[in-house]
């Protein structure tokens, strides 16, 4: 008996929930919506990225900035032309290999 009463109350709640979207008529002009969303995406995202950069800048302490600068200078000073060339040729070699692999994958018909 108690269970039946609870079930009825729950059904009434479910009914109220389902009807909660009936108070407003939602009209969406789809073509206009897609155009608006397309135009919104870039400025909105740019704004978001700008905010993130500002946050990173603000949360990097002068000590960290100083430390990064020192590291870069140290690397620049202590790298010989031979090492620079070697690093460059390694990067070129791997870039060529990766490009080749991607081209092979794209060429395959799955």
């Amino acid at each position: 008996m108690e269970h039946k009463k609870q079930q009825e109350e729950w059904d009434a709640i479910k009914n109220a929930w389902n009807k909660s979207s009936e108070g407003k008529d939602i009209k969406i002009t789809m073509t206009q919506l897609v155009e608006e969303l397309q135009s919104w995406t870039s400025p909105f995202e740019q704004d978001s990225i700008r905010k993130d950069i500002a946050l990173i800048k603000a949360s990097t302490s002068p000590f960290e900035k100083d430390s990064i600068k020192r590291d870069i200078n140290f690397i620049k000073r202590n790298t010989s032309p031979f090492e620079k060339n070697l690093a460059k040729s390694f990067v070129n070699f791997f870039t060529r290999r990766i490009k080749k692999i991607i081209a092979n994958i794209r060429g395959k018909d799955f």
Partner: protein, 168 residues
């Protein structure tokens, strides 16, 4: 088994607008109205539509986005100084006498009682009221089916007590 045709963005929005609005309405709290949340949800669906691969059902995907947007709305939209997205293509107009005063009172009591629940319990009960099976609720919330069943038993009792005392 017959494979379901993929739906376009427009079809998805049209088919799910009522359920999105229901979720937005229950989470809306001044100064962010359900209409603001609705537009934000549509915008997020648009953003993630390209990466939606259909691994989960459209329903599950929509509920996940709607709940995420609505749950974080308090903190994030406040930070944006209420600069929510404004889409002119979406128009809301009131319907005259859609529900009885008694039903409206019951809904307000329900909304108020849901707001007292913990974050996770709130999502579970909303999805349950939407008629989602426990298995699907589990996919959205990341909990097991059994866990949902146990939680729902307790939440349902809690809600019924709360609503009954509010409607007295």
């Amino acid at each position: 088994m017959k494979k379901r045709e993929p739906q376009s963005f427009e079809q998805i929005i049209e088919a799910n607008k009522s359920k999105i609005y229901r979720i937005c309405r229950v989470y809306a709290a001044n100064p962010i109205g359900p209409e603001d949340l609705f537009q934000e949800v549509v915008y997020q669906i648009w953003k993630s539509y390209a990466s939606f691969k259909g691994k989960s059902g459209v329903d599950t995907w929509i509920y996940k986005i709607a709940l995420n947007v609505c749950m974080r709305s308090k903190g994030q939209l406040d930070k944006k100084n209420n600069q929510t997205i404004r889409l002119e293509a979406i128009q809301f107009s009131p319907v005259v006498n859609p529900v009885s005063a008694m039903e409206e009172d019951r809904y307000e009591a329900l909304k108020s009682c849901i707001s007292t629940l913990k974050k996770m319990d709130r999502s579970i009960v909303i999805l349950s009221l939407e008629g989602l099976p426990y298995k699907e609720i589990g996919v959205v919330t990341g909990l097991s089916e059994n866990h949902i069943a146990v939680k729902m038993k307790r939440i349902r009792k809690q809600l019924l007590n709360c609503i009954t005392s509010k409607l007295k």
